[in-house]
Every structure is written in structure tokens, then in C-alpha cells.
Symmetry: C3
Subunit: 309 residues, 3 copies
């Protein structure tokens, strides 16, 4: 696989070896961090986080990663309202100016395709940190890394994807990665009818020859799952509040549900959660979501290091 | 005293030796900063400032301290409105995720008790940077450090606390520290009747056997004070604007008042001030409030270094 | 020229040698950045950006400069609304406190004169990053540096200043610098009648014996220009929206206009642009505005290094 300049879509990761190298690098980052022996290969390098839609946790994760590698950060958490956007500047001008100050740009935008547009214009690497209902490729890398770290493998898996599969961009970014491990992965797609996985992703699964089943209830699926990945129903994606209220609590993973899970299954969530996972299971060893969040730090360190060195 | 993991309440400081060690460390930080020979013991370490109530000065003080020690910062000045809180996330989830990215968290919150709740859940040190009308323990350390640095002692003192003693959390955090120096400290508590020191703090003074007098006017008290500590009447703590207007300018330290002060007294204020101290006395050598603010930088450097090394 | 403590007005730069030294330093900063061999002379030093009027690009430029030199940053992008200003604190108190935490302060304010006021009170260097319709001296330095870098000289120039000359503080700051190169520089001042250069700047040109012509149309001037510097008509400076609408698109540099320009002319703009420059000319080699923006990084590195070392 050619060296990647920008990270826009998880479909760019077409090579198992690339992923394994990246995951190994993330492991080393974690060990060096724990051992307090991080080198600072990105000293004097600058990351700009341009967030047109706020997300404290994603922003923090990127900014912590950059600083742990010795780099600096430029933060804009409310690009939509503040400053140059308000003065009428186009996003392409913003990118061209900021790329003069920063050595890498992480952009989150409310519109699908904006990160790709930014990448076309930028002389420095652009990382898509979520573009509306589009993609969130670094989250997909984190998810895959978490599965491998938790379960020791990426094949031989039955994965239940639960919740808002229509708008869940983390899901949309994760699916293509399994094309690399298609032999023995199968998906249970569990969602309310109005939040089903869009046809283009169903087609993708078919093309990749990946087995899947669609359902609107948890029972009958999660008993055999190795991974239960549940997504937040995102209020901000609904134009009709009544529709949101109707579907938001359709699936809740609680202690009763966990009794049905395999003893070595893991429960994942990209966070923040609202009611989808009851806090009563937070101490269950299978609850992997906080470890998943922390993996984001090390995976992003590995990725920044890859892009800039 | 056992090594502290979190800094939540000034009641945790039960040992004069701990305070003296910390103050000595703060002095060294200052000397190294002036001499431009700071080492960077916290390189690769990250401070997250989670402010649910904005405070540029406190945030800046922590963030400057961390960076002068070589560490990085993650800033969230408007946690209340922006991002994950808006998405419905609980504070406990926020802390668990952020503690995966940061090595220490400074939290300011509008509700008493939130910092303690955060500390219970956090694997990394949590510092209470003010929790509503509750505590502000690092300010108390700064105040004590300032008194010692300015006057050369912490005993043999008459201290006038002036202004809003009901809501002034800096005062609430400072009082317990004097339990360690009770022998010869006495307090004049000067406030309008509606802003008197709450009973639980009066009880604390009694338990500690510390002498105090309550009054509603400056005269008769401040002539013998070694320290005059005046607090801002905080508009944001009043539900009734009329009550605020009535009491806000009850006490004003101006040139006329300073004529009554001892020549070696000091005037303290946690800042920001509104009208409580007239700018006409800023150049009076007894006006210690800007030096007090600067001491915050060095004290917080000493504290971060203590917690993380 | 005496060592400058604060950077408030471009009228402080009275010495060609100072400018040439600064420009040489900026060049070295750029070479070291490209060669990834930046030293970090400002390690442990802190820049505070106090922006009472948001400007992501200017803030980023200063913050990137400081971090590339190894320093840290304290960011306040919305000083006007947030925090201590809201609590009623005066700007002089803010400066005195922040100067206890930061080693240099870059301030942007909506009122002319505020930066100068801040400098009077501050024990650490203050940089005016724009004060309302007043000055923006570092932009002037960047502009002059860009002209010299692009054209190889600062004399023998015909410079067309186009657009809002009444409110354009970048123009107001740039003009005095040409007093140092007055021998053979001339200006074409092209603006709608209501946005003409204010009399005090006209007087300045006369005093400096610099040739100028005023006009309200592009034709007849730009054919002979070595530099075409066009400014954004700033919506935020108009009290009457109708007046803004009437004049905002008076001058537009597009492909047709560039046909009239000299082959070795350059087109400058302090950015952000709205419609003043058509994106169709962005790839024209004479379009210098993105290079001008990038020069800001290196010029500000040179300036921070000068002030702090």
C-alpha cells in the first residue's frame, strides 16, 4: 500500500499489513507512555483541530496524542460560528491558510465530503475527524484495534451492530475494514426499521461476500456475538424530535442482557452514551468501551507519527 | 501525611510539613523560572482543564503551570454548553474518558461536590478548581503561601476577612488551613448580615479553638489586622439582583481606609475585583493581590509536580 | 534603535536595519522549520492570546509561532463575553494578572488604543494583534516582508492600495513603514468615496514626502503597479448594512483584471477575503496572498524570539 497522505475514509486502508504495523506502533506508544519514556518525534510540529461541530472528546484525543509526541496544537472548537467563517470565508481558503501554520489538520464538519474537499487543497495531511453522517475513519481504526487487543484476533467473529445504523458514521467507517478479514466475520444488524443500515452499506457487505442478518430485536442475535457494538441514537441527526423520542431507548444493554452474552464477548460503544448502556455493567469485564476510548489516544499517536515522519 | 492522590478540599492538608515542603518547592519553581533554568519534569504529561463555569484566570494559571513544567494541556472552557454534556453524557462518563487522555484533571463546576464525585471515578489525579459555593483548595494554598511569603510567618496573626463570607469559597477553603496554626491566629469576620460566614464554618472555628469576632463594619477591626482579605461579592451567586445591588459596595478599601492600616499589613484579594478595592491603592506596597495572583502560578507548578512525580 | 519592549504601532519601527535583521531572522526560521531543525529557544516561556474580537487565523499564527519555538500558549478567544470581563473586571487588572502567568501577551481588541493601554501596565511584552480600526503592526511587518521576499526590494515601487482604506487597519499600519523607503515609493489609493483613506494618513504621506494619487476606479492605476494590495470591506465596521451592501463588491480582482497587470506584479490580501479576489486567479503566480499568510508564521516567530531573548 502506498504511503497515505490524508486520512479521509476507512476505505483507504486496503492492506492488512498496514493495519498491523499501525496497531503495533499504537502498542509501543502505550508502553512508552506507561513507562514514561516517550520520545518526542513531533517536536516543533503543529496539529490544528478545526471543529465545525464541537466534540470535546475527539478533540482531546487528537490533541493529547499530538502533545504526547512533543508537538503543539492549535484549537478551534467552534469554527462554525467564530471568526473567519462568520466573515464569509470559504472552507478552501481556511484550509489553505491554516495549512501554512499547521503540519497536520484534523477536521470535523457537519457536512459529508468536507474533509475530502479539504484534503484536495491542503499541502499538509488532513485527517477526517467525522464529516456529518459520512465517515469517521480514525474511530474505525480504534474499533478494529480494540477488537484485536481485546479478543486477540480479527477473524472468526460474529459482530452485533446495534442501534442507529442509518446515521452512525462510526459503523459506516468500520464496515469496510472487515473486507480485509471477510473470510469468517459475520454481522448482525440490529436496528429499528427507520434506522436501518443504508442500502449502500448493505451492497458493500454483499460485494465483500460478508454474511449478515438484519433484525429489529436483540434476542436471538447477541447470545452468539463475540462483539456487541451499540451506537448512540444521535439526537442532532433527527429533524423530528418525536421520531427521536420514539426510537432513542429501543435497545438498552443492562445487567439482564449481559446474562445472555458469551463470557468472553466484549461490549463496545464509541461514547458518549446516553441510555444505551446502563452504568450498572460498567464494572463487567466485558464492558470494553472505556478501554476503547483510551485506545484512541495511542492509535492516534501512531497515526500522527505515521503521517508526519 | 499520606501522599495525596486528589486535591478536593483544603481539609486534606493536615500536616504543616507538607505545606512547608510545597511552599519551598513553589519558591524553587519561581527562582528557576526567573533564572530561565526550568527543568521539564512533566514532558509528555497532559493536564485537562474541564471548566463547567468559565474562569480565564484560574484556567490560565493551571495551564501556564503545566506548560512551564514541560507538559501539555487540553482545554475546555465551556464544558457546560459544548459537546458531550449537550449530548446527554453524565459527568462520570466524561471523567472516565478524559482520564484516558490526560494525566491530571483540573475541574471547575457550578455544583458543590462535583469535584469529589469526579475524584472517586478517576484513575488520574483530580484537582478541584472551584465547585460552586463549595471549596477552592488551591486558592487556599496560594493564600497561605502568600501570607507566609509576605509576612514571613503563619502564626501571630490577626486576619480580617471582609465581604461576602457566605458564598466566598476561597474563604471557606482557607479557614481550615489555619487549624494547623491555631495557637495564635485570630479572625475578624466582617460582612453584611445577609452574607455572614455560614454556621458550619463558625463551628469549625470553635472546634479548632480559633478566636474570632463578627462585625458588619470595617472600623475597629482593621486597625490591628496583619492581613485584610477582602472578597468580591459574586453577582452570579445571587438569585435576587436587588439584593446584589444593595450589598455589593458595602466595603471598599481605598486610600482613606489604608491610612488606618498597620504599616506592615497586607491587603489580599483572590481577584477579579469589581469595586471592593480602589485602583488608587494598587501602588501601595501593602497591596499584595497581584503578587498573590502570581504566586498561584508557582504554587500550582509545585502542586502539579507533587501529584505527577 | 532601542530594543523594543512592546509592539503597539508600526511607527515604532524607525530603523531599516531593525527590519532587515528581523526579516533575516524570519528567513532562518523558515529554513529551520523546513529542515526540521528548529531549536526551541522559548522552552518554558508562555504566550497568552487575549482576543476580545475573535480571529482564528491571527490567533493560530501567533500560537503556531510560539509553539514552534518551544513555548506554550494560553488561549482566550472570546475574552469579551467569557469570564473575568463578564464579572466586571477592568482590562488593566486582566493584564496585570495575565502578565503574572505569561511571558508575552498578544491582544486583539475592538477598541483603538487598548493595546497601548495594556502595554503601559504590563511588565511583559504586549503585542497589538489589532485594535479596532487602529493598527495591526505585525501584519504590516508581514506585508513589508512579503513585498521584499517576492520582489527582492522595498524601493522603486508603485503600490496600489484598493478597497476599504478608511477602516483597513492593515493599511494604516503599513503606510508608516514606507517612510523608511520614501525615496522611490508611490501609492495609488483606490477606494469608493465613502471609504477613502482618513486625512491623518494622507497628512502622514505628505509629511513623509511620499507621492500618492487618489482614485475611485482600478483602471489607469493598476497597469503600472508593482504591488496590488486589496482589502476586504469589513462588514463588522459598518453600522448601516445598506452601506455595506452598496460598497462591498466595488472592486474585484479576477482573471480579466490580471490581464492588465504587469507580469512581475504581486497581488496581496491580508485575508480572509470574501469576493474581492476571484478564486480563479489563485493559481496565478502573481497571487501572493497565501504565501503572505504563511510568511506571518515566520515573521511572528522572529518577533517573539526578538522580544523574549
Amino acid at each position: 500500500m502506498r504511503k497515505l497522505q490524508h486520512i479521509i475514509s476507512s476505505r483507504q486502508f486496503t492492506d492488512r499489513q498496514f493495519l498491523q504495523d499501525l496497531f503495533l506502533s499504537a502498542r509501543h506508544m502505550e508502553q512508552d507512555d506507561i513507562g514514561r519514556c516517550l520520545l518526542h518525534p513531533l517536536g516543533g510540529r503543529i496539529l490544528a483541530t478545526l471543529f465545525y461541530e464541537p466534540s470535546t472528546r475527539t478533540r482531546f484525543s487528537f490533541e493529547a496524542a499530538m502533545q504526547k509526541l512533543g508537538g503543539g496544537v492549535l484549537t478551534a472548537e467552534n469554527m462554525r460560528e467564530s471568526s473567519s467563517a462568520a466573515k464569509g470565508e470559504s472552507i478552501s481558503d481556511t484550509i489553505r491558510v491554516v495549512s501554512g501554520y499547521a503540519d497536520v489538520i484534523a477536521i470535523r464538519h457537519y457536512e459529508e465530503g468536507t474533509a475530502a474537499e479539504a484534503a484536495r487543497l491542503s499541502p499538509v495531511p488532513v485527517i477526517n475527524a467525522g464529516d456529518g453522517p459520512g465517515e469517521h475513519p480514525t474511530q474505525a481504526l480504534i474499533d478494529l484495534y480494540t477488537i484485536q487487543k481485546e479478543l486477540g484476533r480479527l477473524g472468526g467473529l460474529r459482530i452485533a451492530l446495534v442501534g442507529d445504523l442509518r446515521n452512525g458514521r462510526t459503523i459506516h467507517s468500520l464496515l469496510p475494514l472487515f473486507g480485509l478479514y471477510r473470510q469468517d466475520v459475520s454481522f448482525d444488524l440490529i436496528s429499528p426499521p427507520e434506522l436501518k443500515l443504508p442500502p449502500k452499506y448493505i451492497d458493500m457487505l454483499k460485494e465483500m461476500n460478508i454474511e449478515y442478518r438484519e433484525s429489529d430485536h436483540l434476542g436471538g442475535s447477541i447470545e452468539s456475538a463475540n462483539v456487541v457494538y451499540i451506537t448512540r441514537v444521535q439526537k442532532e441527526r433527527f429533524s423530528d424530535p418525536a421520531e427521536y423520542e420514539r426510537v432513542k431507548d429501543t435497545y438498552i444493554i443492562d445487567a439482564a442482557i449481559t446474562l445472555q452474552l458469551k463470557s468472553d464477548a466484549i461490549i463496545m460503544h464509541a461514547l458518549p452514551r446516553v441510555n444505551e448502556i446502563s452504568p450498572e455493567i460498567d464494572n463487567d469485564a466485558r464492558a470494553a468501551y472505556f478501554r476503547q476510548a483510551k485506545n484512541g489516544l495511542y492509535l492516534r499517536m501512531a497515526l500522527l507519527n505515521y503521517l508526519l515522519s
